[in-house]
Amino acid sequence: MTEHDDKLRETGRAQCRQFDRDLSAYLEGEEKAGVLTHARECPFCAVVLADLEQIRFSSHHLPLVDPPARVWANVRATLAEEGILHEQVPAWQRWYHRLPLFAESVPVGALAALAVLAIALLTSPISPDNQGTAASVSADQQIVTAGIWPAGIDSGMTRTVEEMQEAFRGRQSSMEPSLRETYRKSLASLDASIEDCIKHCRREPCDALARQYLARAYQSKADVLASALDSSDH
């Protein structure tokens, strides 16, 4: 090694040290042309510069993280306790409470009688012409009690599916519209199948194939609802 080589090495190291001193300012946007010049000449300093720029770039795009659901639950509970939250009264209730009829007290007995009548009407056997999933749930219960529900599907499962459906109804407003539409179409297709099957099973309770289809449709509905709820969680 010659004296010249030593001098060159020393100059190189000095330039690297200067680079180190200027690097912070350069990354802050200050004019430090020497930084770029030296980076072009020194592969090791070039690596340092590239690394720090990469870190700076990547840190602008860090993934966002979802908080656990209890955060909102706790916030909501505290705000409610502090009286900061006001319940929104649905429009129909606001109208209802304005009626002079209900400004006076109504005989309790008359109200009770009305309630009993309403309950009786709502729980009477469903005629075959009834449409809708709510009707099919009570029809399901009839089928369960009639003992022709397919194996593997009982009132417990129908309740679970109904709960999942309720949860889906609550969350679908927050889903991507096209995704929501996909799930709705699938559930509509399955609901149509279930209703059809139930009607058929009432007419022909011994039709094993129809019962198999009913079981399969219910299973598929549970799968689709589970997928929808999972999707809305993300």
Partner: protein, 210 residues
């Protein structure tokens, strides 16, 4: 009993949500929460490096927000207002814990350690696109003071004069701490790249898809 849900398919302007929240509308509160929850929680998590603390602080930040929302007059963007509030909540917490945020000494660069270089090795830049999950872990592993400045500046985009004001330090200090933070992160990531550790379980509540 439940408040009317705000249909998410229909984007309600934030000004409307704020106005409704100022009237105590629960659905508006929830909508504002859902809009900002990820940024708020992520900021708390990055500044504290701890999921339990981040949860508590995010909660506290939203509570303060909703308690004070009636005072928001629209002088600045709501997001900016919320952001400042979150940063204050976190810093107050860190100060209460007695954590030194930023060295109050004047910056002395004369005795600074030289930046590590891998002399003798081929050009080994950090991999083309840094694994952001690993970067997030590396940020959590930074010392508190470095982490706060790094998160505020490089992640959240605060300027040094703002950081200096927030953290009650000099601009020079803020710059120096930021540079040290970046160098520390670089060291951590390069170490990781050379001898990778088993993937740490990220218990922050992020939902990894299978």
């Amino acid at each position: 009993m439940s408040a009317d849900k705000i249909p998410a398919g229909k984007a309600v302007p934030e000004t409307q949500l704020i106005a409704r929240a100022q009237q105590g509308d629960e659905a508006a509160f929830e909508a504002l929460f859902n809009t900002h929850k990820r940024r708020v929680y992520s900021l708390c998590l990055r500044m504290t490096g701890d999921t339990a603390e981040a949860e508590d602080l995010a909660q506290e930040a939203f509570l303060q927000l909703f308690r004070k929302i009636s005072t928001f007059r629209g002088e600045s963007a709501f997001t900016t207002w919320l952001h400042r509030l979150v940063v204050n909540v976190v810093l107050m917490h860190l100060r209460k814990k007695g954590l030194q945020q930023v060295s109050l000494d004047d910056v002395d660069t004369s005795q600074e350690e030289p930046v590590k270089r891998d002399y003798g090795e081929d050009d080994q830049r950090l991999l083309g696109s840094i694994d952001r999950i690993r970067l997030a872990h590396a940020i959590e592993a930074l010392p508190h003071g470095y982490r706060t400045v790094f998160v505020l500046h490089d992640v959240e985009g605060y300027e040094h004069n703002e950081i200096a004001q927030i953290m009650n330090c000099s601009i020079g200090n803020s710059k120096s701490q930021l540079h040290k933070a970046r160098l520390k992160l670089r060291e951590h990531l390069r170490r990781d790249q050379k001898s990778p550790q088993p993937e740490a379980q990220h218990s922050s509540g992020s939902k990894d898809e299978r």
